[in-house]
Protein backbone atom coordinates (compact mmCIF):
# COMPACT_ATOMS: atom_id res chain seq x y z
CA UNK A 1 0.00 0.00 0.00
CA UNK A 2 1.22 3.47 -0.76
CA UNK A 3 0.90 6.35 1.64
CA UNK A 4 -1.36 8.95 0.09
CA UNK A 5 0.13 12.23 -1.02
CA UNK A 6 -1.97 14.99 0.44
CA UNK A 7 -2.50 18.12 -1.62
CA UNK A 8 -0.66 21.03 -0.05
CA UNK A 9 0.61 24.26 -1.60
CA UNK A 10 -0.14 24.94 -5.24
CA UNK A 11 3.37 24.11 -6.38
CA UNK A 12 3.24 20.65 -4.86
CA UNK A 13 2.32 18.19 -7.61
CA UNK A 14 -0.80 16.09 -7.20
CA UNK A 15 -1.15 12.74 -8.92
CA UNK A 16 -4.21 10.90 -10.13
CA UNK A 17 -5.30 7.46 -11.18
CA UNK A 18 -4.36 6.12 -14.58
CA UNK A 19 -7.21 5.63 -17.04
CA UNK A 20 -6.85 4.28 -20.56
CA UNK A 21 -7.10 7.18 -23.01
CA UNK A 22 -8.75 6.89 -26.38
CA UNK A 23 -5.54 7.52 -28.28
CA UNK A 24 -3.78 5.92 -31.25
CA UNK A 25 -0.76 4.91 -29.17
CA UNK A 26 0.37 4.62 -25.57
CA UNK A 27 3.69 5.06 -23.77
CA UNK A 28 3.80 3.79 -20.18
CA UNK A 29 6.65 4.33 -17.75
CA UNK A 30 6.91 3.00 -14.20
CA UNK A 31 9.20 1.98 -11.38
CA UNK A 32 8.70 -0.48 -8.53
CA UNK A 33 5.04 -0.61 -7.47
CA UNK A 34 4.13 1.66 -10.34
CA UNK A 35 4.29 -1.57 -12.26
CA UNK A 36 1.15 -2.71 -10.49
CA UNK A 37 -0.61 0.46 -11.64
CA UNK A 38 0.38 -0.40 -15.22
CA UNK A 39 -0.95 -3.94 -14.81
CA UNK A 40 -4.27 -2.51 -13.65
CA UNK A 41 -4.29 0.05 -16.47
CA UNK A 42 -3.56 -2.41 -19.25
CA UNK A 43 -6.26 -4.74 -17.98
CA UNK A 44 -8.75 -2.15 -19.23
CA UNK A 45 -7.15 -1.85 -22.66
CA UNK A 46 -7.85 -3.87 -25.77
CA UNK A 47 -5.06 -6.27 -26.86
CA UNK A 48 -4.80 -4.35 -30.13
CA UNK A 49 -3.89 -1.23 -28.17
CA UNK A 50 -1.10 -3.09 -26.39
CA UNK A 51 0.39 -4.05 -29.74
CA UNK A 52 0.93 -0.34 -30.35
CA UNK A 53 2.09 0.45 -26.82
CA UNK A 54 5.48 0.82 -25.21
CA UNK A 55 6.06 -0.10 -21.57
CA UNK A 56 9.32 1.02 -19.92
CA UNK A 57 9.80 -0.38 -16.42
CA UNK A 58 12.39 -0.09 -13.66
CA UNK A 59 11.79 -2.92 -11.22
CA UNK A 60 13.05 -2.81 -7.64
CA UNK A 61 14.36 -6.36 -7.73
CA UNK A 62 13.24 -8.37 -4.68
CA UNK A 63 11.06 -5.63 -3.12
CA UNK A 64 8.72 -4.37 -5.84
CA UNK A 65 9.05 -6.23 -9.10
CA UNK A 66 6.05 -6.62 -11.37
CA UNK A 67 8.07 -7.66 -14.43
CA UNK A 68 6.40 -11.08 -14.65
CA UNK A 69 2.91 -9.67 -14.82
CA UNK A 70 3.97 -7.02 -17.33
CA UNK A 71 5.83 -9.51 -19.51
CA UNK A 72 2.70 -11.64 -19.62
CA UNK A 73 0.85 -8.83 -21.39
CA UNK A 74 2.24 -9.68 -24.81
CA UNK A 75 3.27 -6.14 -25.42
CA UNK A 76 6.16 -6.16 -27.92
CA UNK A 77 7.22 -2.73 -26.65
CA UNK A 78 7.96 -3.93 -23.09
CA UNK A 79 11.43 -3.12 -21.82
CA UNK A 80 13.08 -3.07 -18.40
CA UNK A 81 15.91 -0.84 -17.25
CA UNK A 82 18.07 -1.51 -14.18
CA UNK A 83 17.75 2.03 -12.81
CA UNK A 84 16.05 5.36 -13.44
CA UNK A 85 19.36 6.75 -14.70
CA UNK A 86 19.49 4.01 -17.31
CA UNK A 87 15.84 4.47 -18.19
CA UNK A 88 15.98 8.17 -19.03
CA UNK A 89 17.96 8.09 -22.30
CA UNK A 90 15.81 5.19 -23.48
CA UNK A 91 12.68 7.14 -22.60
CA UNK A 92 13.94 10.24 -24.38
CA UNK A 93 14.43 8.19 -27.52
CA UNK A 94 10.91 6.75 -27.32
CA UNK A 95 9.42 10.19 -26.90
CA UNK A 96 11.43 11.51 -29.82
CA UNK A 97 10.20 8.72 -32.09
CA UNK A 98 6.55 8.77 -31.12
CA UNK A 99 3.91 10.85 -32.87
CA UNK A 100 1.74 13.53 -31.28
CA UNK A 101 -1.42 11.89 -30.01
CA UNK A 102 0.42 9.22 -28.05
CA UNK A 103 -0.81 9.18 -24.46
CA UNK A 104 1.96 9.07 -21.89
CA UNK A 105 1.41 7.47 -18.46
CA UNK A 106 3.85 7.72 -15.53
CA UNK A 107 3.45 5.58 -12.40
CA UNK A 108 5.50 4.88 -9.30
CA UNK A 109 7.72 6.96 -7.04
CA UNK A 110 7.73 10.74 -7.25
CA UNK A 111 11.31 10.51 -8.41
CA UNK A 112 10.39 8.30 -11.35
CA UNK A 113 7.46 10.51 -12.26
CA UNK A 114 9.51 13.69 -11.92
CA UNK A 115 12.51 12.49 -13.90
CA UNK A 116 10.36 11.06 -16.66
CA UNK A 117 8.47 14.35 -16.75
CA UNK A 118 11.77 16.16 -17.35
CA UNK A 119 12.21 14.11 -20.54
CA UNK A 120 8.64 14.97 -21.54
CA UNK A 121 9.23 18.68 -21.04
CA UNK A 122 12.49 18.55 -23.01
CA UNK A 123 10.58 17.12 -25.95
CA UNK A 124 8.14 20.04 -25.94
CA UNK A 125 5.08 18.24 -24.60
CA UNK A 126 2.95 20.15 -22.12
CA UNK A 127 3.11 18.53 -18.67
CA UNK A 128 -0.65 18.83 -18.21
CA UNK A 129 -1.10 16.25 -20.97
CA UNK A 130 0.59 13.51 -18.97
CA UNK A 131 -1.29 11.05 -16.76
CA UNK A 132 0.42 10.26 -13.47
CA UNK A 133 -0.20 7.94 -10.54
CA UNK A 134 1.88 7.71 -7.40
CA UNK A 135 2.65 4.30 -5.93
CA UNK A 136 5.17 3.33 -3.30
CA UNK A 137 7.75 5.42 -1.54
CA UNK A 138 7.31 9.06 -0.53
CA UNK A 139 11.06 9.61 -0.64
CA UNK A 140 11.92 12.91 -2.25
CA UNK A 141 14.60 14.35 -4.50
CA UNK A 142 15.68 17.61 -2.95
CA UNK A 143 17.63 20.51 -4.44
CA UNK A 144 19.70 22.47 -1.96
CA UNK A 145 19.01 26.10 -2.84
CA UNK A 146 22.42 27.06 -1.52
CA UNK A 147 24.84 24.77 -3.33
CA UNK A 148 22.36 23.55 -6.01
CA UNK A 149 23.25 19.95 -5.26
CA UNK A 150 20.49 17.36 -5.56
CA UNK A 151 20.11 14.90 -2.70
CA UNK A 152 18.27 11.69 -3.58
CA UNK A 153 15.91 9.62 -1.44
CA UNK A 154 15.24 12.14 1.27
CA UNK A 155 12.93 10.62 3.86
CA UNK A 156 13.38 12.91 6.87
CA UNK A 157 12.38 16.40 7.87
CA UNK A 158 14.74 18.20 8.13
CA UNK A 159 17.44 16.56 6.01
CA UNK A 160 21.15 17.03 5.38
CA UNK A 161 22.35 18.25 2.01
CA UNK A 162 24.53 15.42 0.72
CA UNK A 163 26.88 17.95 -0.88
CA UNK A 164 27.45 21.02 1.30
CA UNK A 165 26.29 19.52 4.58
CA UNK A 166 23.80 22.25 5.52
CA UNK A 167 20.72 21.10 7.41
CA UNK A 168 17.73 21.80 5.17
CA UNK A 169 14.02 22.29 5.63
CA UNK A 170 12.45 20.02 2.99
CA UNK A 171 9.75 22.27 1.52
CA UNK A 172 6.70 21.21 -0.46
CA UNK A 173 7.67 23.82 -3.08
CA UNK A 174 8.50 21.69 -6.14
CA UNK A 175 10.26 22.39 -9.43
CA UNK A 176 9.26 20.38 -12.50
CA UNK A 177 12.45 21.47 -14.19
CA UNK A 178 14.65 19.97 -11.49
CA UNK A 179 12.15 17.24 -10.55
CA UNK A 180 12.97 18.12 -6.96
CA UNK A 181 11.63 19.73 -3.83
CA UNK A 182 13.37 22.80 -2.47
CA UNK A 183 15.66 22.50 0.53
CA UNK A 184 16.44 25.67 2.51
CA UNK A 185 18.82 26.01 5.44
CA UNK A 186 16.64 25.52 8.48
CA UNK A 187 18.93 26.91 11.15
CA UNK A 188 20.59 29.85 9.38
CA UNK A 189 19.56 32.27 12.11
CA UNK A 190 20.93 30.00 14.83
CA UNK A 191 23.23 27.21 13.56
CA UNK A 192 23.39 25.70 17.03
CA UNK A 193 19.69 24.92 16.88
CA UNK A 194 19.55 21.42 15.38
CA UNK A 195 15.97 20.07 15.22
CA UNK A 196 15.43 16.31 15.45
CA UNK A 197 15.01 14.55 12.16
CA UNK A 198 11.58 12.98 11.74
CA UNK A 199 10.89 10.20 9.21
CA UNK A 200 8.22 12.05 7.26
CA UNK A 201 8.61 10.73 3.68
CA UNK A 202 9.16 6.97 4.03
Amino acid sequence: MSATIEPSIRSRPVYGTLAAADAPAHLMVADADGGAALVELTATMAPAALLRAEILYVPFVSTADHSEALRALDCPGFHTSPSIDALIPRLARSIERMKMGTQIYLAGSETLIGRAMQAVLQAGIDHQAIQTEHRGSLARRMQCVHCKGITENVTTQPADCAHCGLLLLVRDHYSRRYAAFQGVNINAEDPSDIPEKEELFP
Binding site: D22, E96, G124, I125
Partner: protein, 320 residues
Protein backbone atom coordinates in the same frame (compact mmCIF):
# COMPACT_ATOMS: atom_id res chain seq x y z
CA UNK B 1 -16.39 55.40 -23.59
CA UNK B 2 -12.76 55.37 -24.47
CA UNK B 3 -11.20 52.96 -26.93
CA UNK B 4 -8.28 51.29 -25.12
CA UNK B 5 -4.95 52.62 -26.34
CA UNK B 6 -6.57 54.39 -29.28
CA UNK B 7 -4.31 55.19 -32.22
CA UNK B 8 -5.28 57.85 -34.75
CA UNK B 9 -4.75 56.42 -38.21
CA UNK B 10 -5.38 57.35 -41.80
CA UNK B 11 -6.54 54.84 -44.40
CA UNK B 12 -3.74 54.72 -46.96
CA UNK B 13 -5.15 52.11 -49.31
CA UNK B 14 -8.23 49.99 -49.95
CA UNK B 15 -7.56 47.00 -52.22
CA UNK B 16 -10.18 44.71 -53.73
CA UNK B 17 -8.71 41.26 -53.25
CA UNK B 18 -11.60 39.35 -54.75
CA UNK B 19 -15.38 39.78 -55.12
CA UNK B 20 -15.92 39.25 -51.40
CA UNK B 21 -12.76 40.53 -49.72
CA UNK B 22 -11.20 43.96 -49.42
CA UNK B 23 -7.92 44.79 -47.76
CA UNK B 24 -7.50 47.99 -45.76
CA UNK B 25 -4.18 49.68 -45.00
CA UNK B 26 -3.79 51.98 -42.01
CA UNK B 27 -0.86 54.24 -41.18
CA UNK B 28 -0.42 56.43 -38.14
CA UNK B 29 -1.84 59.88 -38.71
CA UNK B 30 1.35 61.47 -37.32
CA UNK B 31 3.60 59.48 -39.65
CA UNK B 32 5.36 57.45 -36.93
CA UNK B 33 5.68 53.69 -37.10
CA UNK B 34 2.78 51.73 -35.64
CA UNK B 35 3.50 49.61 -32.57
CA UNK B 36 5.20 46.22 -32.98
CA UNK B 37 2.88 43.25 -32.41
CA UNK B 38 2.79 39.45 -32.28
CA UNK B 39 1.37 37.33 -35.11
CA UNK B 40 -2.24 36.38 -34.36
CA UNK B 41 -3.03 39.77 -32.81
CA UNK B 42 -6.11 41.74 -33.71
CA UNK B 43 -7.05 45.40 -33.54
CA UNK B 44 -10.41 46.93 -32.68
CA UNK B 45 -11.52 49.19 -35.52
CA UNK B 46 -13.86 51.99 -34.52
CA UNK B 47 -16.47 52.87 -37.12
CA UNK B 48 -18.58 56.00 -36.92
CA UNK B 49 -21.52 55.03 -39.09
CA UNK B 50 -24.03 57.83 -38.75
CA UNK B 51 -25.55 57.41 -35.28
CA UNK B 52 -23.98 54.04 -34.77
CA UNK B 53 -20.52 53.61 -33.33
CA UNK B 54 -19.21 50.11 -33.96
CA UNK B 55 -16.07 48.64 -32.49
CA UNK B 56 -15.16 45.42 -34.26
CA UNK B 57 -12.05 43.22 -33.97
CA UNK B 58 -10.05 42.26 -37.06
CA UNK B 59 -6.89 40.17 -37.25
CA UNK B 60 -3.75 41.93 -38.37
CA UNK B 61 -2.50 40.20 -41.51
CA UNK B 62 0.51 42.42 -42.13
CA UNK B 63 4.00 41.40 -41.10
CA UNK B 64 4.90 42.22 -37.49
CA UNK B 65 8.38 42.98 -38.80
CA UNK B 66 7.20 45.98 -40.83
CA UNK B 67 4.90 48.32 -38.96
CA UNK B 68 4.89 51.24 -41.32
CA UNK B 69 1.32 50.22 -41.82
CA UNK B 70 -1.23 47.71 -40.51
CA UNK B 71 -3.30 45.65 -42.93
CA UNK B 72 -6.57 43.87 -42.32
CA UNK B 73 -8.79 41.94 -44.71
CA UNK B 74 -12.55 42.03 -44.37
CA UNK B 75 -14.96 39.63 -45.97
CA UNK B 76 -18.23 41.28 -46.87
CA UNK B 77 -21.10 39.89 -44.81
CA UNK B 78 -24.51 40.90 -46.15
CA UNK B 79 -26.32 39.30 -43.21
CA UNK B 80 -24.36 40.91 -40.41
CA UNK B 81 -24.70 44.04 -38.32
CA UNK B 82 -23.40 46.18 -41.13
CA UNK B 83 -19.78 46.61 -40.08
CA UNK B 84 -18.23 44.89 -43.08
CA UNK B 85 -20.70 46.65 -45.40
CA UNK B 86 -19.71 49.98 -43.89
CA UNK B 87 -16.03 49.21 -44.38
CA UNK B 88 -16.52 47.98 -47.94
CA UNK B 89 -18.78 50.83 -49.04
CA UNK B 90 -17.82 53.88 -47.01
CA UNK B 91 -14.13 53.61 -46.18
CA UNK B 92 -11.81 55.14 -48.74
CA UNK B 93 -8.16 56.12 -48.74
CA UNK B 94 -7.51 59.40 -47.00
CA UNK B 95 -10.15 59.14 -44.30
CA UNK B 96 -9.21 59.23 -40.63
CA UNK B 97 -10.20 56.46 -38.26
CA UNK B 98 -9.29 55.20 -34.82
CA UNK B 99 -8.01 51.75 -33.94
CA UNK B 100 -7.09 50.12 -30.66
CA UNK B 101 -3.74 48.69 -29.64
CA UNK B 102 -2.99 45.21 -30.96
CA UNK B 103 -4.10 42.49 -28.58
CA UNK B 104 -3.42 38.78 -29.05
CA UNK B 105 -5.65 35.87 -28.08
CA UNK B 106 -4.29 33.55 -30.75
CA UNK B 107 -0.58 33.61 -30.10
CA UNK B 108 1.90 31.00 -31.27
CA UNK B 109 3.15 28.74 -28.49
CA UNK B 110 6.81 29.73 -28.42
CA UNK B 111 7.86 26.31 -27.09
CA UNK B 112 6.55 24.46 -30.13
CA UNK B 113 9.04 22.39 -32.06
CA UNK B 114 6.70 22.67 -35.06
CA UNK B 115 3.51 24.57 -35.83
CA UNK B 116 0.74 22.90 -37.87
CA UNK B 117 -1.60 25.59 -39.19
CA UNK B 118 -5.08 25.03 -40.60
CA UNK B 119 -6.85 27.94 -42.31
CA UNK B 120 -10.28 28.12 -43.87
CA UNK B 121 -11.35 31.08 -45.98
CA UNK B 122 -10.88 34.46 -44.31
CA UNK B 123 -9.34 32.59 -41.38
CA UNK B 124 -6.08 32.90 -43.28
CA UNK B 125 -5.51 36.42 -41.98
CA UNK B 126 -3.82 35.73 -38.61
CA UNK B 127 -1.62 33.13 -40.30
CA UNK B 128 -0.28 35.70 -42.74
CA UNK B 129 1.20 37.59 -39.81
CA UNK B 130 2.30 34.48 -37.94
CA UNK B 131 4.08 32.92 -40.91
CA UNK B 132 5.96 36.17 -41.47
CA UNK B 133 7.25 35.97 -37.92
CA UNK B 134 8.06 32.26 -38.22
CA UNK B 135 9.93 32.68 -41.49
CA UNK B 136 12.03 35.47 -40.00
CA UNK B 137 13.08 33.32 -37.03
CA UNK B 138 13.46 30.01 -38.83
CA UNK B 139 10.49 28.36 -37.12
CA UNK B 140 9.30 24.98 -38.45
CA UNK B 141 5.71 24.98 -39.74
CA UNK B 142 3.18 23.84 -42.35
CA UNK B 143 0.15 25.79 -43.48
CA UNK B 144 -2.87 23.95 -44.86
CA UNK B 145 -5.31 26.38 -46.44
CA UNK B 146 -8.77 25.45 -47.63
CA UNK B 147 -10.53 27.85 -50.02
CA UNK B 148 -13.72 27.68 -52.04
CA UNK B 149 -11.95 28.18 -55.35
CA UNK B 150 -8.81 29.81 -56.68
CA UNK B 151 -10.55 33.11 -57.37
CA UNK B 152 -11.86 33.46 -53.85
CA UNK B 153 -8.66 32.10 -52.33
CA UNK B 154 -7.20 35.26 -50.92
CA UNK B 155 -3.43 35.59 -50.89
CA UNK B 156 -2.72 32.14 -52.33
CA UNK B 157 -0.19 33.55 -54.80
CA UNK B 158 1.60 35.61 -52.19
CA UNK B 159 1.73 32.68 -49.79
CA UNK B 160 3.02 30.30 -52.43
CA UNK B 161 5.84 32.70 -53.15
CA UNK B 162 6.76 33.26 -49.51
CA UNK B 163 6.19 29.84 -47.99
CA UNK B 164 6.96 27.47 -50.92
CA UNK B 165 6.62 23.84 -49.86
CA UNK B 166 5.35 24.73 -46.41
CA UNK B 167 2.03 25.77 -47.99
CA UNK B 168 -0.68 23.31 -49.08
CA UNK B 169 -3.77 24.73 -50.77
CA UNK B 170 -7.06 22.82 -51.09
CA UNK B 171 -9.60 23.97 -53.67
CA UNK B 172 -13.13 23.06 -52.64
CA UNK B 173 -14.47 23.34 -56.16
CA UNK B 174 -12.00 20.66 -57.24
CA UNK B 175 -13.07 18.42 -54.38
CA UNK B 176 -9.76 18.81 -52.56
CA UNK B 177 -10.06 18.42 -48.84
CA UNK B 178 -7.60 18.68 -46.00
CA UNK B 179 -6.88 15.17 -44.71
CA UNK B 180 -7.04 16.07 -41.04
CA UNK B 181 -6.78 12.50 -39.82
CA UNK B 182 -3.58 11.81 -41.72
CA UNK B 183 -2.04 15.10 -40.68
CA UNK B 184 -3.04 14.77 -37.04
CA UNK B 185 -1.58 11.27 -36.72
CA UNK B 186 1.78 11.98 -38.31
CA UNK B 187 3.20 14.90 -36.37
CA UNK B 188 6.48 14.74 -34.46
CA UNK B 189 6.67 15.27 -30.72
CA UNK B 190 6.29 18.89 -29.70
CA UNK B 191 4.03 19.99 -32.55
CA UNK B 192 1.24 22.46 -31.85
CA UNK B 193 -1.91 22.75 -33.98
CA UNK B 194 -3.65 26.04 -34.82
CA UNK B 195 -6.96 26.45 -36.63
CA UNK B 196 -8.83 29.54 -37.79
CA UNK B 197 -11.78 29.48 -40.12
CA UNK B 198 -15.52 28.78 -40.18
CA UNK B 199 -16.92 27.49 -36.90
CA UNK B 200 -17.67 23.97 -38.24
CA UNK B 201 -14.07 23.62 -39.39
CA UNK B 202 -12.78 24.65 -35.98
CA UNK B 203 -15.17 22.28 -34.19
CA UNK B 204 -14.07 19.45 -36.45
CA UNK B 205 -10.35 19.97 -35.95
CA UNK B 206 -10.63 20.45 -32.20
CA UNK B 207 -12.81 17.38 -31.80
CA UNK B 208 -10.69 15.21 -34.10
CA UNK B 209 -7.46 16.27 -32.44
CA UNK B 210 -8.90 15.33 -29.06
CA UNK B 211 -10.12 12.00 -30.35
CA UNK B 212 -6.68 11.33 -31.78
CA UNK B 213 -5.02 11.86 -28.42
CA UNK B 214 -3.77 15.42 -28.81
CA UNK B 215 -3.46 17.30 -25.51
CA UNK B 216 -5.72 20.33 -25.50
CA UNK B 217 -2.72 22.45 -24.50
CA UNK B 218 -1.34 21.74 -27.97
CA UNK B 219 -4.48 22.76 -29.87
CA UNK B 220 -5.14 26.46 -30.46
CA UNK B 221 -8.02 28.09 -32.23
CA UNK B 222 -9.57 31.45 -32.84
CA UNK B 223 -13.21 31.91 -33.62
CA UNK B 224 -14.16 34.94 -35.57
CA UNK B 225 -17.29 35.25 -33.53
CA UNK B 226 -19.14 37.99 -35.27
CA UNK B 227 -21.58 39.55 -32.88
CA UNK B 228 -24.85 38.69 -34.61
CA UNK B 229 -27.52 41.30 -35.22
CA UNK B 230 -30.94 40.72 -33.68
CA UNK B 231 -34.04 42.38 -32.33
CA UNK B 232 -33.81 45.57 -30.32
CA UNK B 233 -34.18 45.14 -26.58
CA UNK B 234 -34.04 47.09 -23.35
CA UNK B 235 -31.60 46.52 -20.54
CA UNK B 236 -31.33 48.06 -17.07
CA UNK B 237 -27.83 48.82 -15.87
CA UNK B 238 -28.45 48.66 -12.14
CA UNK B 239 -25.05 49.87 -10.94
CA UNK B 240 -25.26 52.90 -13.22
CA UNK B 241 -28.95 53.57 -12.57
CA UNK B 242 -29.59 53.66 -16.30
CA UNK B 243 -31.94 51.98 -18.71
CA UNK B 244 -30.54 51.51 -22.18
CA UNK B 245 -32.07 50.62 -25.53
CA UNK B 246 -29.98 48.23 -27.62
CA UNK B 247 -30.73 48.65 -31.31
CA UNK B 248 -30.86 45.82 -33.82
CA UNK B 249 -27.39 46.49 -35.17
CA UNK B 250 -25.76 47.48 -31.91
CA UNK B 251 -24.10 44.99 -29.59
CA UNK B 252 -25.08 45.10 -25.95
CA UNK B 253 -21.55 46.26 -25.15
CA UNK B 254 -21.71 49.06 -27.69
CA UNK B 255 -25.05 50.21 -26.25
CA UNK B 256 -23.59 50.19 -22.74
CA UNK B 257 -20.64 52.25 -23.97
CA UNK B 258 -22.88 54.65 -25.90
CA UNK B 259 -24.70 55.32 -22.63
CA UNK B 260 -21.43 56.53 -21.16
CA UNK B 261 -20.72 53.48 -18.99
CA UNK B 262 -17.11 52.29 -18.98
CA UNK B 263 -17.42 48.50 -19.24
CA UNK B 264 -14.31 46.29 -19.37
CA UNK B 265 -13.54 44.42 -22.60
CA UNK B 266 -10.66 43.04 -24.56
CA UNK B 267 -11.34 40.90 -27.61
CA UNK B 268 -14.94 41.94 -28.35
CA UNK B 269 -15.36 38.55 -29.98
CA UNK B 270 -16.80 36.45 -27.16
CA UNK B 271 -13.56 34.58 -26.47
CA UNK B 272 -11.50 36.20 -23.75
CA UNK B 273 -13.82 36.60 -20.77
CA UNK B 274 -12.93 40.16 -19.87
CA UNK B 275 -16.40 41.64 -20.47
CA UNK B 276 -18.17 38.98 -18.35
CA UNK B 277 -21.12 40.68 -16.64
CA UNK B 278 -23.37 39.49 -13.82
CA UNK B 279 -27.06 39.18 -14.61
CA UNK B 280 -29.12 40.41 -11.65
CA UNK B 281 -32.52 39.62 -13.10
CA UNK B 282 -33.70 38.01 -16.31
CA UNK B 283 -37.26 37.50 -17.52
CA UNK B 284 -36.78 36.25 -21.04
CA UNK B 285 -34.11 34.49 -23.04
CA UNK B 286 -30.44 35.36 -23.10
CA UNK B 287 -29.05 34.62 -26.55
CA UNK B 288 -25.51 33.58 -25.78
CA UNK B 289 -23.15 33.85 -28.76
CA UNK B 290 -19.85 33.57 -26.90
CA UNK B 291 -17.19 30.85 -26.57
CA UNK B 292 -16.24 31.79 -23.03
CA UNK B 293 -18.98 30.65 -20.64
CA UNK B 294 -19.63 26.94 -20.36
CA UNK B 295 -22.97 25.22 -20.96
CA UNK B 296 -23.94 25.35 -17.30
CA UNK B 297 -23.18 29.04 -17.11
CA UNK B 298 -25.19 29.65 -20.28
CA UNK B 299 -28.12 27.78 -18.78
CA UNK B 300 -27.90 29.52 -15.41
CA UNK B 301 -28.68 32.98 -16.80
CA UNK B 302 -26.36 34.44 -14.19
CA UNK B 303 -23.71 35.73 -16.55
CA UNK B 304 -23.56 37.18 -20.02
CA UNK B 305 -20.87 38.32 -22.45
CA UNK B 306 -22.19 41.65 -23.77
CA UNK B 307 -19.70 41.94 -26.62
CA UNK B 308 -21.54 39.29 -28.66
CA UNK B 309 -24.66 38.11 -26.80
CA UNK B 310 -28.20 39.48 -26.92
CA UNK B 311 -31.55 39.18 -25.14
CA UNK B 312 -35.18 38.70 -26.00
CA UNK B 313 -37.86 39.14 -23.35
CA UNK B 314 -39.44 41.39 -20.76
CA UNK B 315 -36.68 42.37 -18.43
CA UNK B 316 -32.92 42.17 -18.17
CA UNK B 317 -30.97 43.73 -15.33
CA UNK B 318 -27.16 43.76 -15.36
CA UNK B 319 -24.63 44.54 -12.66
CA UNK B 320 -22.96 47.29 -14.64
Amino acid sequence: MSLHGAIDVVVTDVVTVNPLIKRFHFARADGEYLPAFSGGAHIIVEMEDGDTRRRTPYSLMSSPLDTRDYQISIRRDDEGRGGSLFMHREVKPGINMRIGMPSNLFALDQRAHKHLLFAGGIGITPFLAQTAQLMARGGKFELHYGVRNRELGAYVDELEQRLESRLHVYLDDKGEQIDFDRLLTSQPTGTHVYVCGPAPMIEHVVTQAGALGWPKEHVHFEHFAKAPPGEPFTVELRASALTVEVSAEQTLLEAIEAAGVDAPYLCRGGACGQCETRVLACDGELQHADHWLDDDEHASNEKVMPCVSRFRGNMLVLDR
